[in-house]
C-alpha cells in the first residue's frame, strides 16, 4: 500500500484549495485565535428556566472570585442604544426596531439557556469557575416548547404566509390516483465544528474592532452600527477564517452583543467562546416542521393537483419564516397547486436558516410523496418525474434561464445502476441484507445580488482581488482566484484573494448559495475591466508591438496582452506597467444583476441516488453508495465543487438518519446538547459519494454561467434515503431521522 492519500494521480482534477495548507497546518486564524494584547475572557451564565422572570441575581461571590473583573447582567449592563431606537424626527419614518433577543435588557426569560449574565476574568478558567458562583432565583411561568401540544396555536405569519393557489385548490382530491401523507422534520442543530466566538476590542469610546465568526462581515458591521449607534468607519469586523457555519453565523446573536458590552464595561478586549451546549440554544437551528402533502395524478402519472401545507415554529419574541412549501409551486408541471405555511411561537430561541433551509424541509416531504405516488401508479420514480417535467416555470410563467435536470436524472441513474434494480419493495438482498435504492430531486434558487470587488495588479506581476466576504468553508477564495485567473489571464499562483474584513469593498453575506454568482460576477467584471485598461495601455505604450491594432484585436493570456491575429506578438502586463511608469493598476466596481432576473426563472438542481442496506432484524441502516448529479451551471472550481457536494450529502445523511435536537418539554431543556448525544454522521456512516456535474453554463445569470450549489447538495437528499429504506423494507418512514427503532417497530 503506497501513500495513497497524497498520491497526486488519484486526486480529483482541478485547482487546489488556496487556503488548504493554512487550514491543515494550523496557521489559519479563526475568530477566537487572534492574538490581542490585554485580552480578558467572558463566560456566559444562562437561564435554567424556560419562561418567567429573574427574581434575584446574586453575583457577589463571583465578583469576589480571583481574577474576576466584572459580572454583567440586566442589572448593570451598559445600555445598547439600538435596543431602544429614538423616534425619528420625521413622524412618517418608522424607528428601526431591533431584531431578536435584547441581551441583558430586562429580567424577562424567553427560553432555557438565555444568557442572563456574563462573567469577565483575566483567564478563561477563572471566568468559567466564577460563572458557577452566580446564583439566580426565578419566578417561573408555564412554558411551551412542545410543538405537537401547541399545534392549535398555529397561525399565519404576521409578515405574510406562503398562501398560494394556482388553478384549483385541493384539486388532488378529485384525481383518479391520490396520495395524502404527513412528514416531520425535527429540530436540527447546525453544529459546525468551530464554536461561535468573538473577540471584542473597543479602540475608543465610539470605535470597535471585533474578530468574529460570521458569514457576513458587512452584515455584522451593520448590526453593530445599529446596536451601538456608530458610524460605519468606526466599526471593523474581521473574520479571516470560519470553521463551518451552515447558516448559524448568518446574523448577529446575543453572545456577540454580550461580548461587546462586557468589553465596554471592563474597558479591555474580551473574548467569548460559546460552549457546545450554547450552540443548541443561542445560534439558531432548523425549525421543527410538520408538512402535509396531497398529490393527485392520472393513471398514466400526470400530476393534476398538489397541495402542500406546513406548520413550523418560531420563538415567542421574533418571527422566523422560511420557504418550506415553495418548491411545490414550480418543481413539477401541474395545473393545480395550493400551499400554506403557518407558525407556532414557542418558548425557545429563534430558529435560523440551516443549510438548504426551507427547501430541504419541503423537498423531504414533496420528494417522499412523489416516491409514494410512484408505487401507487406503478411507475418508476424517475419516469414519474420525467412525465411531470416542467419545461417552463409554471409559477411565474417564465422560461428557465437554464435547466439541465433531465441530464441529472440520466447521469445519476446510469452511474448507480438505477434501471438494473428490481423495483418491488423488499425484493432485493445482498450478503443477508435488504437492499434499497432511492432517488430524489433537489432545487434551489440561483441568485445574484450586489457586490463590490477591487482588483489591484502590481508591478511584480501579481494580482490582488478584494472583497468583504467571509468563507465558511466552501472555498470562496479558491473559486474567486479561478474566476480571476480566467478573466484576467493570469496563472492561479500569481493571484491572491483577500477577504474577511469589513473594511474591504462591500461583499455579500455568504448564504443562499449566492456567493460565487454574486461576488464572482464582481470579480469577473473587475478583472475584465483591468484587462481592457491593460489593452489600452499596451496600445499606447512607447514600445507597443501592436501597431495599428484595435482593442478588439487583442486578447489576454498568461500575463500577456497578445494579438489575436498572431498570438506570438505580445506584451507582458509587467512590461505594460513599466512602460507607463505605473506602480500598479487598480479598479473597483459594484456589480449588479439586471433585467435578466425579470425575464427568466433561475434555479440550480440536484438529483440524489442512494443505495443502502437494511439489516432485516436489527434495522441497522448502512448507506452503501451515493451518486449526486448537479446542475449548477458552469463549475468554476472542480475540487471545491466536489467537496461541496460531498459535504452537503453528508449533512443530508445526518438529516436522514441521525440528527435530532431533543427537548425535555417538562423542563424546556435540550437533553442531547453535546456531540456525543447529537449524532452528526462520522466517517463510518458515509460511503463513497460520487458527485457528477452537468457543467453547462447558465447563459443569463451571470458572466461566468455559474449557478449556486451549497444548498442543492443537501436539499432533497433525506428523501432519497427514506425512499431507499422503503424500497429495501416496504416500510415508509415519514418522520426524520430514520433511526432503527422506527424500522423494527
Amino acid at each position: 500500500m503506497g501513500n495513497h492519500f497524497f498520491d497526486k494521480a488519484t486526486m480529483p482534477a482541478g485547482q487546489d484549495r488556496v487556503d488548504g495548507r493554512a487550514k491543515v497546518t494550523g496557521t489559519a486564524r479563526f475568530a477566537a485565535e487572534h492574538p490581542v494584547p490585554e485580552l480578558t475572557y467572558g463566560v456566559l451564565v444562562c437561564s435554567t428556566i424556560t419562561k418567567g422572570h429573574i427574581k434575584s441575581l446574586d453575583t457577589k461571590a463571583a465578583e469576589k472570585a480571583a481574577g474576576v473583573l466584572a459580572v454583567l447582567s440586566h442589572l448593570n449592563s451598559p445600555k445598547v442604544p439600538g435596543f431602544d431606537p429614538p423616534k425619528p424626527a420625521n413622524k412618517d419614518e418608522k424607528p428601526r426596531a431591533w431584531d431578536g433577543l435584547k441581551v441583558f435588557y430586562s429580567d424577562k426569560i424567553y427560553f432555557n439557556g438565555q444568557p442572563i449574565a456574563v462573567v469577565v476574568a483575566d483567564t478563561y478558567e477563572r471566568a468559567l469557575y466564577a460563572a458557577t458562583l452566580v446564583k439566580a432565583e426565578y419566578i417561573k411561568e408555564p412554558h411551551q416548547t412542545d410543538f405537537n401540544a401547541n399545534i392549535k396555536q398555529a397561525a399565519s405569519p404576521k409578515g405574510g404566509g406562503d398562501d398560494y393557489t394556482r388553478g384549483e385548490a385541493n384539486a388532488w382530491k378529485k384525481a383518479p390516483v391520490t396520495l395524502e401523507a404527513e412528514y416531520i422534520v425535527p429540530f436540527e442543530v447546525h453544529n459546525p465544528m468551530e464554536l461561535h466566538a468573538i473577540i471584542a476590542v473597543w479602540e475608543a469610546e465610539d470605535k470597535i474592532t471585533v474578530y468574529d465568526k460570521t458569514q457576513g462581515p458587512k452584515d455584522t458591521q451593520q448590526s453593530i452600527m445599529q446596536a451601538f449607534n456608530l458610524p460605519e468607519k468606526n466599526v471593523q469586523v474581521v473574520t479571516e477564517y470560519v470553521g463551518g457555519a451552515f447558516g448559524s453565523a448568518l446574523r448577529t446573536w446575543p453572545h456577540e452583543i454580550a461580548a461587546m458590552l462586557a468589553a465596554k464595561k471592563v474597558n479591555k478586549p474580551v473574548k467569548l467562546v460559546l460552549g457546545r451546549d450554547n450552540m443548541f440554544t443561542l445560534v439558531g437551528y432548523r425549525p421543527y416542521t410538520i408538512q402535509k402533502i396531497g398529490l393527485g395524478a392520472t393513471e398514466d402519472g400526470k400530476l393534476t393537483g398538489i397541495t402542500h401545507t406546513a406548520i413550523s415554529q418560531t420563538s415567542s419574541y421574533e418571527e422566523f419564516t422560511e420557504g418550506a412549501v415553495g418548491v411545490s409551486k414550480f418543481l413539477y408541471a401541474c395545473p393545480n397547486v395550493n400551499t400554506s405555511y403557518k407558525l407556532i411561537p414557542l418558548d425557545i430561541g429563534t430558529p435560523t436558516w440551516m443549510r438548504g433551509p426551507g427547501e430541504a424541509t419541503g423537498c423531504f416531504a414533496l420528494e417522499s410523496a412523489l416516491d409514494e405516488l410512484s408505487y401507487k401508479l406503478n411507475i418508476d420514480p424517475v419516469e414519474l418525474r420525467l412525465r411531470n417535467y416542467a419545461e417552463t416555470d409554471p409559477q411565474r410563467n417564465l422560461p428557465w434561464s437554464s435547466k439541465y435536470l433531465k441530464e441529472c436524472y440520466q447521469m445519476g441513474a446510469e452511474k448507480i445502476g438505477w434501471f438494473q434494480r428490481n423495483r418491488n419493495p423488499r425484493s432485493m438482498q445482498e450478503d443477508g441484507m435488504l437492499v434499497g435504492y432511492g432517488m430524489s430531486t433537489g432545487v434551489f434558487g440561483a441568485f445574484r445580488w450586489n457586490a463590490t470587488a477591487k482588483g489591484i495588479f502590481h508591478a511584480d506581476g501579481t494580482l490582488t482581488v478584494q472583497s468583504a466576504v467571509s468563507d465558511m468553508g466552501p472555498g470562496t477564495s479558491t473559486s474567486m482566484v479561478n474566476i480571476a485567473s480566467e478573466a484576467f489571464g493570469l496563472p492561479h499562483d500569481k493571484i491572491k484573494f483577500e477577504l474577511g474584513s469589513s473594511s474591504l469593498p462591500p461583499g455579500p453575506t455568504q448564504g443562499g448559495s449566492g456567493t460565487t454568482s454574486t461576488l464572482g460576477s464582481a470579480v469577473h467584471e473587475v478583472c475584465v475591466e483591468l484587462t481592457n485598461q491593460l489593452k489600452q495601455l499596451a496600445l499606447s505604450a512607447g514600445n507597443s508591438p501592436f501597431k495599428n491594432a484595435k482593442p478588439e484585436g487583442l486578447a489576454v493570456e498568461n500575463g500577456n496582452v497578445l494579438l489575436v491575429a498572431d498570438r506570438n506578438i505580445k506584451m507582458s502586463y509587467v512590461d505594460i506597467l513599466k512602460q507607463h511608469n505605473k506602480p500598479e493598476l487598480e479598479f473597483m466596481k459594484e456589480s449588479n444583476a439586471g433585467e435578466e432576473q425579470k425575464k427568466y426563472s433561475m434555479y440550480s438542481y440536484s438529483v440524489h441516488f442512494t443505495k443502502l442496506h437494511v439489516h432485516p432484524s436489527t434495522g441497522v441502516i448502512t448507506i452503501k453508495k451515493v451518486v449526486t448529479a448537479g446542475d449548477a451551471g458552469k463549475i468554476v472550481s472542480e475540487k471545491t465543487a466536489r467537496s461541496q457536494m460531498i459535504g452537503g450529502v453528508t449533512g443530508g445523511i445526518g438529516m436522514a438518519l441521525t440528527e435530532e435536537g431533543i427537548i425535555d418539554h417538562r423542563y424546556g431543556r435540550y437533553v442531547n446538547n453535546n456531540l456525543a448525544d447529537y449524532h452528526v454522521p462520522v466517517n463510518a456512516d458515509v460511503p463513497e459519494i460520487e458527485a457528477l456535474f452537468v457543467n453547462r453554463p447558465d447563459p443569463y445569470l451571470n458572466p461566468m454561467g455559474a449557478k449556486g450549489m451549497g444548498e442543492i447538495a443537501l436539499i432533497g437528499y433525506a428523501a432519497s434515503v427514506a425512499n431507499a429504506v422503503y424500497h429495501a423494507t416496504g416500510k415508509r418512514i415519514r418522520d426524520l431521522p430514520i433511526t432503527l427503532d422506527k424500522i423494527i417497530s
Binding site: 443477508g432 448525544d677 449524532h679 456512516d685 432503527l740 427503532d741
Partner: protein, 326 residues
C-alpha cells in the same frame, strides 16, 4: 471548573496513602470521563491523585490466565496479540468503544469505573438520584431512549455505558483491588451494582481502594462476537450490545457466554439463556429461543421500548455471527 489540588505519586503506596487520608480525593487515570464530569459540575473532587505513573500497565499471561494492569490503555489491550487471539471478544468490545483518540487515553481501570451517560445525570439543573440522592429520576418519565430494560428501579433507570465490561463479564474476569491495608479480588459480575434504593453507588469498590488489575481465566471459547448496535456506525454508545462466545464441539455448545451492554445499570449477564444453550446444537433456532429467554422480564420506559425487540434480534445475530452462521 472548580479549583482543585493535583498530585502525581510515583508509587502505589503513596497513592493509596493519599486517598486514605483525603475523603474528597479521587483517582484520575486517562481523565476522559472524570474531566468531563468535572467540567459539567457533576463531580467536584478537591484533590486529584493522578495514578498515571504507577507501574500498572502490563499485559501478561500467568498460570491463572491473562493479567491486565489497570492502567493498560484501551488501545493497547485491543491491539495486544494474546488478547486478539485468545480473548478476541475483549478486543472486539474495546474496538467498538469510543474513538481511536479516546481509546489511546482511556485505561482499563477508568473504563470499569466510568459513570453513566444519562443526560439527567450530566445536567446539574435536572433531577437525578445518582448525582443528587432524593432529587428524583429525570429519565423515568423523561427522555429515556438510551436507558435500562433490565434491573432498573423507580430511582434510577440509567445504564452502565461500557463495552469492555460486557466482554469482561462474559469472560468471567476477576478484578484485583488494593487499599493501604491489603488486596482483595472481586468477580466481575459482582463488581457493578443494580441501582435499587442507592443509585448513587455504582459499584462495590470501597473508598480508598484502587483497581490494580483484571485477570481473565483461560477459556476454549474459540467462537466469539461482540455486536454493538448504535445510532451511528461509530463513536456512539450502545443502544444494545451483545457479547457472545461459544465453545462448540460436534455441533453442540459445550460452553457459552452471553452478556449485554446498554440494557442495565451493570453489564448484564444472560445466565438463563446460557443454561438453555449449553449442550444443545448450535443452531439458529436454538439461538432464537435463547434470545427469547434472555429478554424475559425486560421492561421499557417509553422511548426505549424498542430495545426489547432489538435485544432479542441482537442476541440471535451475535450468536449466529459467533457460530459463523451469519
Amino acid at each position: 471548573m472548580i479549583p482543585f489540588e493535583y498530585i502525581r505519586p510515583s508509587g502505589q503506596k503513596a497513592a493509596l496513602d493519599a486517598i486514605a487520608k483525603d475523603a474528597s480525593a479521587q483517582f484520575i487515570a486517562g481523565g476522559t470521563n472524570l474531566v468531563d464530569l468535572m467540567k459539567k459540575g457533576v463531580v467536584s473532587p478537591q484533590k486529584l491523585i493522578d495514578i498515571g505513573k504507577l507501574p500498572l500497565k502490563e499485559i501478561k499471561e500467568a498460570n491463572t490466565g491473562l493479567h491486565i494492569g489497570a492502567l493498560a490503555l484501551n488501545s493497547d489491550v485491543a491491539e495486544n496479540e494474546i488478547v486478539k487471539t485468545k480473548y478476541s471478544l475483549l478486543s472486539q468490545a474495546l474496538y467498538a468503544g469510543a474513538s481511536a483518540q479516546l481509546r489511546n487515553m482511556a485505561t482499563v481501570g477508568g473504563n470499569i469505573m466510568q459513570r453513566t451517560r444519562c443526560t439527567y445525570f450530566y445536567d446539574t439543573t435536572m433531577p437525578c438520584n445518582k448525582r443528587k440522592p432524593g432529587s428524583g429520576c429525570g429519565a423515568l418519565k423523561g427522555y429515556n431512549r438510551m436507558h435500562a430494560i433490565f434491573g432498573a428501579s423507580e430511582n434510577c433507570i440509567a445504564v452502565h455505558p461500557s463495552d469492555m465490561c460486557v466482554a469482561l463479564t462474559a469472560l468471567n474476569a476477576t478484578i484485583l483491588v488494593s487499599n493501604n491495608k491489603g488486596e482483595r479480588k472481586i468477580p466481575f459480575g459482582e463488581f457493578h451494582r443494580l441501582p435499587g434504593d442507592h443509585p448513587e453507588t455504582d459499584n462495590t469498590l470501597q473508598k480508598g481502594e484502587l483497581i490494580t488489575a483484571i485477570i481473565i481465566p483461560e477459556n476454549n471459547l474459540q467462537h466469539s462476537c461482540y455486536l454493538k448496535i448504535r445510532d451511528r456506525a461509530s463513536y456512539a454508545f450502545a443502544l444494545v450490545s451483545v457479547a457472545a462466545a461459544l465453545e462448540i464441539a460436534d455441533g453442540k455448545t459445550k460452553d457459552v457466554r452471553l452478556a449485554m451492554g446498554g440494557v442495565a445499570h451493570k453489564p448484564w449477564r444472560l445466565t438463563d439463556a446460557e443454561k438453555f444453550l449449553k449442550g444443545k446444537p448450535a443452531t439458529e433456532n436454538n439461538f432464537q429461543q435463547a434470545a427469547q429467554i434472555a429478554i424475559k422480564g425486560a421492561k421499557g420506559y417509553g422511548n426505549n421500548n424498542f430495545k426489547i425487540k432489538l435485544a432479542s434480534a441482537a442476541i440471535t445475530e451475535a450468536l449466529n455471527k459467533a457460530a459463523g452462521k451469519a
